[in-house]
Subunit: 299 residues, 2 copies
């Protein structure tokens, strides 16, 4: 099977690397508007050859879009126009608008909207690495609108990446990612800005920052190119979730100002329940990796 | 030198462990209201013996308080009443109230207010471990109000823990920790609560959470026993900082709702400057550890 990857950054590069390494595809063709990125991806061994979009799609059996979600809206219809037997999937963080953009395309059923829930705060082909997806979860949206064999192929691809698949409506996906992914990015960006503004007056303020700060602010390294269009496309959900987060912070502020120690204690006890969630997640990841090593996937 | 540690949790246990291991003290006496904790600390080899507060202070050369900041306010005056030649330091996250509480004590100069900027989201003697403080920064407040030899001893103690010392006013300390430590805890608690509330309607929401969420929410595992009194004692600063953080989030929300992509891009670019800060911190930590291995400290 020949894979064409459109966008050779962290996600595109990492997926290409592991699908080839694990024998799911025989050859990887790479496409990137940024020729420096494309050449770096080739040099790093992430792809076998560089092509333009049309050639890459026509030569492929499987086409994966790994570009920012605004670019996906422009590029996906072009790709679908080129498709014969090819199966196409995207890997973006928002789904409703993208699906809407090709809702009436005659080749719609050859497209499988997907979102592997993995990433880091780094970007570009240099950030790509093997094992990025291991143990994580991948979402496949609106599978009833795709060809069964196409959904099957994309599911097998994710199993080869040692991921478990969850099927859901695009609408549910966009609402839930606003909570568990988009919000944590904005909370980190805002934390970074709040302390950076203070640094102008207190030059040595970061001397006091410990590992806890680093961890909470880590996502603020993430790129605007990727995140601005995500927030735009998911603004309906992101706006609501941000308001809930602000209300929660305001509740903390009110309780602290009123010296309501029992109230603060209760909130923290409740927040501590995240231990259950994080422990369960860790367990799920281990089980997914164990499960994956039992399943044989092939090209 | 004999060390008495009051409070045998993560901080007290870890400091006892490394000061003994690295030869700064010959013997560690432990005090803890919670007898289970005290026995666990002894069994884990964090301390040599368990004593009551009075016996422990009287037998010591150096007394370290590693208890929640509300308990510090109650216990520190008692300790200072027992002091003869002993040097006393606390390791708490707020400083102004504690210093005020013994401002007129005749033994004030034998107390050195300090705050090692290290920790994890875990608590209790089981969480204590060697190397917790390595490379980090420790704050010593208002050194002009302490005996020079006392400040010297506490500085040497932190160098033995492979830390660098920064001297500052208690007022500046409390303001700055509100930004780089207290805020990130509240942001994590609020993030946890926001998503946990949503979980009640969307049972599988955490399926979608990736490593970025885990990292941003990690501090929400932290204990109420420790954090509620910190927020209370530092409410003046925490309130102001929380308001700035809320304003920053509101700015994001407004820009997203207005589809102001340039505005969002600008904010993210600005927030990305945290890369510089985190890189510098990493460099500082490495240099501090290298420096520490050159300095010989002894009991």
């Amino acid at each position: 099977m020949i894979l064409s990857v459109i966008g050779l950054g962290l996600i595109g590069g990492s997926i290409a690397l592991d699908l080839k390494k694990r024998g799911f595809v025989n050859k990887v063709i790479g496409v990137d508007n940024n020729t420096l990125n494309a050449h770096a991806a080739k040099k790093l061994g992430l792809i076998d050859e560089i092509q333009d979009l049309t050639t890459a799609v026509q030569a492929a059996d499987l086409v994966l879009l790994a570009i920012p979600v605004d670019a996906c809206l422009r590029v996906l219809p072009k790709i679908m126009d080129l498709v014969h037997h090819q199966i196409v999937s995207d890997l973006g963080s928002t789904k409703e608008q993208l699906i809407e953009s090709i809702a009436n395309h005659p080749k719609r059923s050859q497209f499988v909207p997907a979102h592997p829930m993995a990433g880091t705060e780094f970007s570009g082909p240099q950030a790509a690495h093997s094992g990025l997806f291991d143990g994580k979860c991948s979402i496949i949206c609106n599978p009833e609108d795709s060809d069964k064999k196409a959904v099957q192929l994309i599911s097998e691809m994710f199993h080869c990446l040692k991921m478990r698949c969850v099927f859901m409506d695009a609408e549910v996906h966009d609402r839930q990612t606003a909570y568990v992914s988009h919000l944590s990015h904005i909370s980190a960006f805002a934390l970074s800005l709040t302390v950076l503004h203070k640094e102008k007056a207190d030059k040595h303020i970061f001397e006091l920052a410990s590992g806890g700060f680093d961890s909470t602010v880590r996502l603020a390294k993430s790129s605007a190119e990727m995140w601005t269009p995500i927030f735009q496309q998911n603004k309906k959900n992101v706006g609501k979730v941000l308001q809930k987060y602000i209300d929660q912070l305001q509740q903390f502020k009110d309780l602290i100002e009123k010296d309501d120690l029992n109230g603060i204690n209760d909130l923290i006890f409740e927040a501590n329940d995240i231990r259950r969630v994080l422990d369960q997640k860790e367990k799920n990841e281990k089980e997914t990796i164990q499960q994956a090593s039992k399943i044989k996937t092939g090209a």
